[in-house]
Amino acid sequence: MAVFAPLADAIRDNLKDGDTVAFEGFTHLIPFAAVHEAIRQKRRDLHLVRMTPDLIYDQLIGMGCVRKLTFSWGGNPGVGSLHRLRDAVENGWPHPLEIDEHSHAALANAYEAGAAGLPFAMLRGYRGAQLKEVNSNIKEIACPFTGEKLAAVPAIRADCAVIHAQKADRRGNVLIEGILGVQKEAVLGARRAIVTVEEVVPDFGRVSPNACILPSWTVSAVVEVPGGAHPSYAHGYYKRDNAYYKAWEDIARERDVFLKWMEENVLRKGPDAFKRHAGRAA
């Protein structure tokens, strides 16, 4: 059963140095508040997994929390580069970063296989693609009926998954609506899971019988953090803050500007700083 906890406690109890951790959310519902707490708690040596590293992993990498990155598309969507990710890969700053690079299809399947308790995922993928030459985590299997060769990648079974959702009910069940990404799979494939939510409600009311709901007993901790996905967005609550994404280009390009910004906007702040974004603007 999920416990309701303050964000600092949830991160301290469920995310350890050296963990493989997936902070997920596909453009939508990216758990910024939880990432900022992990940075404040100075987690180190993390193996980050995420299809689209986005600004959150640029921040974690730049702050020296990360040893290894598993990913499939590492840009600032619609804007350009993730400069901290590039600085780590191209120049080893703040320290070298091991990369495990895939396609979206491979990682989406790897999350799915993790949720399904399988050791690996198979896909008709990577044909003619060079990533399989540089990543030993891409292998091949043959169909025992047709002989067709398919690509195989290890399932993602994180030590900890962290996601943001719209609602939890009082029992700690979690409701996600809109663009679902791989969050359900990330949580079901992980040993521990933290969910930050926009709000805790008595019950979900009249939702579809087939809604995306994570039962309380699949989640370790639920934390109410209104606005906790900002500058990403929460369907039904607030829109994506495109200006923040565009501004990140200039914030992240230079190391000292980045560090100063993180000091002011993350290290000296707490989860309450997200509240002002929680307005029902959407």
């Binding site: 060079q130 679902l180 959407a282």
Partner: protein, 263 residues
Amino acid sequence: MSHYTPNEIMTIAAARELTSDDVCFVGIGLPSAACNVARLSHAPDITLIYESGTIATKPNVLPLSIGDGELCETALVTVSVPEMFRYWLQGGRINKGFLSAAQLDRFANINTTVIGPYDRPKVKLPGAGGAPEIATSCGEILIVMAQSKRSFVDKLDFVTSLGHGKGGDDRRRQGVTTKGPTKVITDLCIMEPDPETKELTVTALHPGVAPEQVAAATGWSLKFAADLDETEPPSAAELKVLRDLHRRTNEAHQSQEARGAAQ
């Protein structure tokens, strides 16, 4: 005739490749603009699919990211990302895929991974995203990208996604049964793979563009078809659709940014 920019004719020429019967996997940026111009003009019933899981989406403004709220709000249905890649893309349900890239070679293979060696990158590009499996699972592929010697290269630094491989029947030899790239639409011209060799061949020049200009923007010795067409210039109606879309997009993003700044 209307005035238009090279970017505008590129987008509109790309849009013309689509029909109401198409189910199209849409990349962000130029592909997204072209697909929505098609939808808002001659292909109103086209099914647009973004990798965020949004199926049959009808955004009123162009999304900045692949997963903007607008895409979900205007979609017929939004599925999870694993389902999108398993049931819809790999399941063979999508007949056209629209890609762009940092580098492209004469067989329309593309690189979005790295400039320089993979182990010691000069520039780490964002990476593969959905492209490797879009390139092989969609019925056919359209590529839209601005042309220059830096992007149309003799040899890719890295083959992120398969086009026609080493040419000829290489695609089929690699176990891929879909058509692959059937057109490359640039700001200067339209190229198509030769039916036999699969080497890209210019089949149409945009109005006012000279073959020399295209050759000079290409990193290999580019072939031209004997019977070279001229691209139909954008009509006033097409330009209006494209410009209105960009205007609405800018207004929406700016008003949102203003709201963000005011908070």
